[in-house]
């Protein structure tokens, strides 16, 4: 049995950096009264975390029994800290306006900033955790902080959304914990009692010796549990409300990051199940849930009136695509899943940034009350157009590349599934373009006041997606392929 490697952290440990910076920042932000300073500090702390995450590319500490960084989670960590940083920049301009119109008080903002960093801490911890128990606690922490932020406006709708999210999320993480306990039970006879049997690197090394039937039932619980947090249909009921009623920066991180963190947890367990040859193949389960989410969300997109709610359904659709891709598996399927996940996070958070500014200008989230954005606010309008074109999967954006990869690999192996999959894609595509036409073009509706927007985060995200659609750097492709091989 290979012993758990314990390393003493030297004074500079980037892994500790991405955990401690948000934690310390949260404590300071909870004590700081002025919102301008807080917003600035929020950006600085997020930037520092991103800096630490980038150094992980060059040198990473060896895994120990609580924390680890490997080729798989580093993709998620980088994405997480990057979008955390851009969202904090967007949030600074967004909340200033919310304060002006009196939707939030300075006290609320203090709370909001502290929770924002605490949420980043929770998500980073979930990503670097090498212990399935610790990972569970971290996912719970991230969920709790987002629940509190979803309810921050204190309107009946916001409270209802927070309550629904809370109850469904709690049931989800409770089921995930039951699954985690079952994994421990499966590991105990092989690895022995105690902490070692919850350390992920140990689990994966010994997975072939685990009792397959216990692993099977554990995976069902984990799939239902973490799947609720991923927002897979039919467990998605919390997701549209939480996205629509919370502050827009939170909608952006919910879609862009938190869904990924839950997906990451699920994929970790998929690797574990795949390492045991006699356990069930997780593929068909993931494919089924993925297709269901894709098609369900595709139909639901047509009935939406609220712009944030519509993009929330689009997140369900994309999570469906991603889970479908990982379910197909194989080098190409996993590669497509990783790429799609990255592209979706970048694009969807960019869309929420623009939608946030748009709904501030228009004073509503109802799509019927907005129109002709490209005429009244050209830059904002065209950025929205670019974002929606990207998320609908049109070239030359990166989402097209990954969806194309999913379609080709599916056609080669399961042509029937590919037809269903393409039907789902077209369904969502139609709905998005239909709505976009109303909102972005046509006659101008609603207030046309000036907008104090921060365009930089949106432009940064969309240009990354554009570049990825045109040219993927070979080292990046090699890396994604290596990770795809890990996923088995």
């Amino acid at each position: 049995m290979n012993a758990v490697i314990v390393t003493l952290p030297s004074w500079f440990d980037p892994v500790l950096g991405i955990l401690l910076i948000p934690l310390v920042a949260a404590a300071i932000l909870a004590a700081l009264p002025g919102y301008r300073v807080s917003a600035g500090l929020n950006v600085v702390a997020s930037a520092l975390s991103l800096g630490c995450a980038v150094t992980l590319l060059f040198e990473r500490p060896p895994p120990h029994s609580y924390l680890m960084v490997d080729d798989f989670n580093i993709v998620f960590i980088l994405l997480n800290t990057f979008i955390g940083f851009t969202t904090s920049a967007f949030s600074a301009s967004y909340i200033a306006h919310e304060l002006e119109i009196g939707r939030l008080t300075p006290w609320h903002l203090r709370f909001y900033h502290a929770m924002f960093q605490l949420m980043l801490f929770g998500m980073n911890l979930a990503l670097v955790a090498n212990n399935i128990g610790l990972m569970w606690v971290a996912v719970e922490l991230a969920t709790l902080t987002t629940v509190l932020m979803v309810g921050i406006y204190r309107t009946p709708e916001a409270l209802e959304a927070a309550w629904k999210y809370f109850i469904l999320g709690s049931v989800g993480i409770a089921l995930a914990l039951f699954g985690t306990i079952l994994v421990y039970l499966a590991a105990r006879p092989v690895i022995g009692e105690g902490m070692d049997a919850m350390v992920w690197t140990n689990l994966v090394d010994h997975a072939r010796g685990f009792d397959p039937s216990l692993l099977n039932i554990a995976f069902i619980f984990l799939l239902l549990g973490y799947g609720t947090k991923v927002g897979l249909a039919p467990l998605h009921a919390w997701l549209p409300d939480a996205h629509a009623e919370g502050p827009t920066p939170i909608s952006a991180v919910l879609s862009g990051l938190l869904l990924n963190v839950a997906l990451y947890a699920l994929l970790r367990f998929k690797i574990l199940i795949a390492a045991n040859a006699s356990a069930i193949a997780p593929g068909p389960l993931l494919i089924g849930l993925g297709l269901l989410s894709l098609i369900f969300a595709g139909f639901m997109l047509y009935r939406r009136r609220d712009i944030k709610r519509m993009f929330a359904y689009s997140s369900i659709e994309h999570m469906g695509i991603i889970v479908f891709a990982f379910g197909m598996g194989g080098p190409l399927g996993d590669l497509a899943g990783l790429l799609q996940m990255t592209m979706h996070s970048l694009t969807k958070s960019a869309i929420f940034f623009t939608v946030g500014h748009i709904s501030q200008v228009k004073g509503t989230q109802r799509m019927a009350a907005m129109g002709g954005l490209t005429t009244s606010h050209p830059l904002l309008g065209w950025l929205l157009v670019a974002g929606v074109v990207a998320i609908a999967g049109l070239p030359p954006f990166g989402v097209f590349t990954s969806e194309f990869l999913v379609v080709t690999t599916t056609f080669a192996r399961e042509p029937v599934l590919a037809v269903v999959f393409i039907f789902g894609l077209l369904l969502a595509f139609g709905a998005l373009l239909l709505r976009l036409a109303d909102v972005a073009f046509g006659e101008v509706k609603g207030p046309i006041g000036p907008v104090h927007a921060s365009y930089l985060p949106v432009i940064a995200h969309l240009s990354l997606v554009l570049v990825a659609g045109i040219w993927l750097p070979p080292p990046l492709v090699a890396w994604f392929q290596h990770v795809a091989a890990m996923l088995g």
């Binding site: 009946p156 709708e157 409270l159 809370f166 049931v171 409770a174 914990l177 306990i181 709610r309």
Partner: protein
Amino acid sequence: MHGIDFDIAHMLAGFLVLLSFLMLYQVRLLPLLNVLAAHAFVLALSVAWQAYIQNAPHLYITAAIALVFKAIIVPIALRRMVFRMGIQREIETVFSIGLTMLAGMALVALSLEVMLPLTAKAEPVVREDIALALSVVLIGLLMMVTRRNAVSQVVGFMSLENGINLAATGAQGMPLVVEISVAFSVLIAFIVIGIFLFRIRERFDTVDVGALDQARGGQE
């Protein structure tokens, strides 16, 4: 470990399942809260017993949390809330109790059927504890699905969580059990405070989740 150790552990776990059934047919809130307190009390006993037979002193902390927090503080807090909202006399409309009970029995049968063969190789104490714990979890879920009132949903969630605690302590030598029970307590505290907030804001006349749905009005 001896036969009597198993027997007591199984008896306590069986008690939990029985109390879960009691919850299923309580349509009045106050008796339901009493059953919840009893549920948590039995859980505390069961965890303490596991701590004793496994010789794992840290589990006594989990038992103490279950006893003080879940069996005393939360039921009292919920009871006060029920009185302040004046819903103590209300009878909840649940669909047919007979059917719910039957569904509960089916769930217990299912979890025994699924878990016992799976854990056949494990020690008997683990084996049956996990099967009974899964029954408690599933009945808790059933309760959350069939009830409309937010207080009874919380009760359902707490019984579900008790089932998970039972499983975690039954899995011998599982690390982080104490931390996880603390994390869950935080979660429950938040839920209780959440209900309390709903009331404080006085934006809803009832904590019936159905009424919350209407609050959204013509949004969709």
